[in-house]
Symmetry: C2
Subunit: 346 residues, 2 copies
């Protein structure tokens, strides 16, 4: 049984995963997935090689666990957390733990093994975005879970162990530390100003861009993409709804087509500018089960994997970013290919 | 001029480095340092190829910036921060910034290019540990700096760009976020319990080990090495003084020989168990210029680089660790080579 454990100093919870337990010799011989030869476990026709699906988009409707799907959600075969059981929170001296209960699912984004999110048609990306939402809504019903983290690793350098386009979600009984920090910071701001900090950021960025030196990349149907003011990583990019909205699941009046177009365009420009980099994407939404929040604003964070994180960053949480976000945004606005000089962008 | 910028939501400061500024095309062609052919810039006889030394251990004494040194400290040739100038903190709407002022130094740990910290004689490691302390004490005198981060990247996978054994330090006008979080968490604990949390952790770990299922690795002359209860990474290891002490610089009555022996032994066992892994080391000490703290306890954190950090971790701050620290400590206590089975350790 995996365990959730709390660091007694900073209060950060970690997952001690036993299903994926690794002894010293396992690190040297990390599994290498052969590429391109024959269908993979996520390919159509291979449905029996995954755990039974929890959701699939099939039009026309068909029997589960067979081909004919556009998007398919299955439990992760090597889950970080276990779905069955009770939390049984317990203390042991200065330490706190609970059973590693949670959901760990894989969202197979397309039947096409060789496709990529950047290249999928808009309707297919909409189906993926809708699937994230439907799974979040469904997992909210489980009284044990406080948060659903949706994320995607694209490319081996970003931690993807399978090529076939897929995203993942992990539902946890704990609100993750980074979301907790965002909630606290945003609440402090709201108490002072009576405004959402992300709404203020969007307003300020729009104003700055109008003056020609901003970090805004582009907007589309009620969504904006921008490089944040103090990014940890070069070319880090956020996508946010322009209007205030705390929960991704709250889709009333949201134009998922516009979000799909904007996300696709940002990824295509990253590919042009950075030459098909590996990247990580994560969705930050308000914790489930609480009513809409005035101080939280959901957003996507996309981090291209360009630099190595080393001892200074791991030890201090202080990041050195070699690319000012204004420079990154200028490139991503232009979408110019690798090798373009600054002069070309004047 | 580099900049320090604050994320307006979570309050994390980042360094936007301009000396190391990188445009898109620079990421693809990261510099590769040729290995082994001729002396490197950190080798004896090459002193003129580095900026002028700020400190060197020379016995017998000799002129600066020539050979004959045991340990040598030089400014980083490509510093993340600039030493000259004023902070000039400024606001811009929701954002806060200041000039990227700080010290970025390299501690060359030995004249021997092919050596490694794990293999250096005790006296040489003591000289390195003392040099860290001397630089911290000296940098405290600069009114602009609040914190000195000492860290080391060992191996290319851990971010080391030069082979020759060296550690680094970065002095900043900001206390790094992770240290700030440790200070806050530890103060909360102290206010409740009137005890240092790390003192309590050490006590509890010693008691647990006596019962045969602990995370303690070994102790030496007033220092202990242990795998923390809720580690982010497999085989993460902390080294702490057994008695309470908040500042590394406060060396009165501290046996640096014992610390050197313990650090060396931990690194050698990691090499045995994990087959010469890359690793990061960082020193966590109380911020400079404040008197000794009852609630903070300095420590070294060592993180072998064994797993990839992916979207879930970057997006949430939630870490999945595939190796329980009890397992890691059992291996590190035994120091058995890679490939040993669990059965051998029963």
């Amino acid at each position: 049984m995996p365990e959730l454990r709390r660091d007694p100093v900073v209060g950060r919870w970690v997952i001690i995963s036993t299903e994926r337990s690794r002894r010293p010799s396992d690190f040297a011989s990390a599994p290498v997935h052969p590429k391109g030869t024959g269908p993979c476990v996520f390919c159509p026709g291979q449905e029996s090689r995954t755990p039974e699906e929890v959701l699939a988009v099939r039009e026309p409707a068909g029997p589960p666990n067979g081909p004919g799907w556009a998007v398919r959600v299955v439990p992760n075969k090597f889950p970080a957390l276990r779905i069955e059981g009770d939390l049984e929170p317990a203390g042991e001296g200065v330490y706190d733990r609970m059973n590693g209960i949670g959901a760990h699912e894989v969202i197979i984004e397309t039947p096409d093994h060789g496709a990529s999110l950047a290249g999928l048609p808009e309707t297919q990306v909409v189906a993926v975005l809708e699937t994230w939402r439907r799974r979040m809504v469904d997992l909210q019903k489980d009284a044990r879970f406080e948060y659903v983290s949706v994320f995607k690793n694209h490319g081996e350098a970003a931690g993807a162990s399978l090529e076939h386009p897929h995203s993942q979600l992990i539902a946890t009984p704990i609100v993750p530390m980074m979301v907790e920090q965002e909630l606290q910071g945003a609440l402090r701001y709201f108490r002072m100003k009576k405004r959402c900090i992300w709404c203020d950021i969007i307003r300020q960025e729009m104003h700055s861009n109008a003056r020609g030196r901003g970090r805004l990349i582009l907007g589309e149907g009620g969504f904006v993409a921008l490089c944040p003011y103090a990014p940890r990583f070069p070319f880090e990019t956020w996508i946010l709804p322009e209007g205030h909205r705390s929960s991704y699941e709250d889709a009333e009046g949201v134009d998922f087509g516009a979000l799909a177009r904007l996300l696709g365009e940002v990824l295509r420009r990253m590919n042009q500018v950075l030459g098909d980099p590996a990247w990580n994407l994560s969705l930050h939404s308000a914790p489930m089960k609480i009513p809409a929040l005035d101080h939280f604003h959901w957003h996507l964070e996309i981090i291209p994997k360009l630099t190595k994180v080393a001892g200074f960053e791991w030890g201090t949480g202080f990041f050195i970013n070699p690319t000012p976000p204004e420079t990154a945004a200028r490139y991503l606005r232009a979408g110019l290919p690798t090798g373009t000089t600054d002069r070309d962008l004047s």
